[in-house]
Amino acid sequence: MRFVAGRLAALVPVLALVLAIVFLLVRAIPGDPAVVLLGPGATQAQIAALRDQLRLDLPAPLQFLEYVAALARGDLGTSLKTGEPVLREILLRLPATIELTVLATIAAVLVGIPLGVVCATRANGPLDHMLRLVSLVGVSVPAFLLALVLQLVFASWLGWLPVSGRTSALALDPPITGFAVFDALLRGDGAAARGALAHLVLPCAVLAAFLAATLGRYVRNSMLETLGEDFVRTARAKGMARVRVVYVHALRNALLPAVTVIGLKSAEMLGGAILTETIFAWPGIGRYMFEAIRNRDFPVIQGTTLVFALIYVTTSLVVDLIHGALDPRVRKRLR
């Protein structure tokens, strides 16, 4: 309990500073933000109205307090483009982003961990070099380039998968959970579920590639360190089979820190989601943020940035707690 309380207490100043950074985004706009956001054709009345909406006439500390008070009421502001509350728009799009990132995380774990183990057990051999090169391409390739290549090959040339979009069936029916595959299954519509899954494959692959490659590289290094530890040498000296030493003793210890990598990198994936959702016309909050950037819709940019940060902070906290629960040394160090 002391460990959990300590982690939560450490979060308070960080969250306050996160709010301050998001608040300062609009103030970072050079010149008068209202004039810049409305563009050259704006009238004085429009500028005055926006200054009033953004509370720009108040002293900065008061503006910040008003911003925090509004957040506490669940008010993330109103979109300058559509006039809709930002929170409602984000909540509408959140399931699409969660669906994409969670599936991508699962796919990355299923590929990344075996990749790392195979590389470590054959360290510096030809297979290790080849797989390391593949994982290196995975961490080095820009998400937008991988997306283009996959779209070209699997959608345009082979015609196996849809180029973009989420699903056509969902547009006709009101969402139940907001998760396209679940909704189709709940309606008993197998064809719609298959369609939703087919739409997920390419964006999922793009998002998963970076995490799978990062995880593979991390598990390889972690395994190499663990295989050099005394307890592994002792187990081998006692005559234990190499397979058992590697896959039971070493892997279990090497995977413990991988929990942190999986958690943090899957949250980091949200940055990649902006690019992926934009290219695949995926109706999540990443694409919503991109559209807001094009329209210079700052309440939306602030709202989506804050939501991304809150997801990231929450994931870090959960990862710390899981890591602490699994490893008593971490509890002691972080207490």
Binding site: P13, V14, L17, V18, A20, I21, V22, L25, V26, A28, I29, P30, V36, A123, N124, H129, R132, L133, L136, V137, V139, S140, V141, P142, A143, F144, L145, L148, V149, Q151, L152, S156, R217, L224, E225, L227, G228, A267, E268, M269, L270, G271, G272, I274, L275, T278, I279, M289, F290, I293, R296, F298, I301, Q302, T305, F308, A309, Y312, V313, S316
Partner: protein, 278 residues
Amino acid sequence: MAEIAAFLRTNRLAAFGLALLAAILVCVIAGPLVYEVSPTRLNILKRLAPPGPDFWLGTDALGRDVLARVLHGGRVTLVVGCGVVALAFVTGATIGMISGFAGGWIDVVVMRLADAMLSFPSLVLAIALAAAFGPSLENAMLAVAITLMPQFARVARAQAVSVSARPYVEAAVTLGLTRRRILLRYVFANGVGPLFVQATLALGAAILQTASLGFLGLGAQPPAAEWGADVSINLDFVRSAPWVALAPGAGILLAVMAFNLIGDGLAEWLDPRRRPAQ
């Protein structure tokens, strides 16, 4: 030097990374001098021409030579990557060193601020900052440098705390040297080493993030050639003329790969635990 050569002989991937970087540098530095075609010259009659003897990598939708744009765009992308890391290195290292050396409330405030900045997915923060500063290459560089800065500050702070506890720093304090002199001459000089490894590792990320901002329209503005922006402006033609986007995209991939290979090699060289068990 002999030690480096011996390491490169055993770590083929790091050697490959160095060779790849050398090849890229030769192409983008010497390339435009040999291949004297303007990257911004329009030739509407030859738009979307496929790769061939006239245009080695084809032309884009405005008839501009793709090879010329890749060579000139590479210069921009690499200079931007190095500039971003240099900016993040200098500011992050300075802030981190002062924070670790001074301790007390300065250290607490600086580290909480670094924690807060690291609480954003880095690309999200870079995008939000670049959107606030306004779309331009300089603003994109500044945005990415700000997001990378806390990483340098954290490493520098850890180094400063570690070096400050060494006997020679205590001796310098006893001798009555000014804090500024101790910080610059002893703490910074002895703690800066690991920051160079961090810088090498950050170069790939810096290029990738700046290219991503360029792709979103927040980086270099037309008609300037830059790899990320060149992928973005050619998206609509990618199905009929894939070379227009794939060529600059491949440039980003190869450059980031080269820096990642070198960074990995450096990290492995400095950390014996990461070398394979005998």
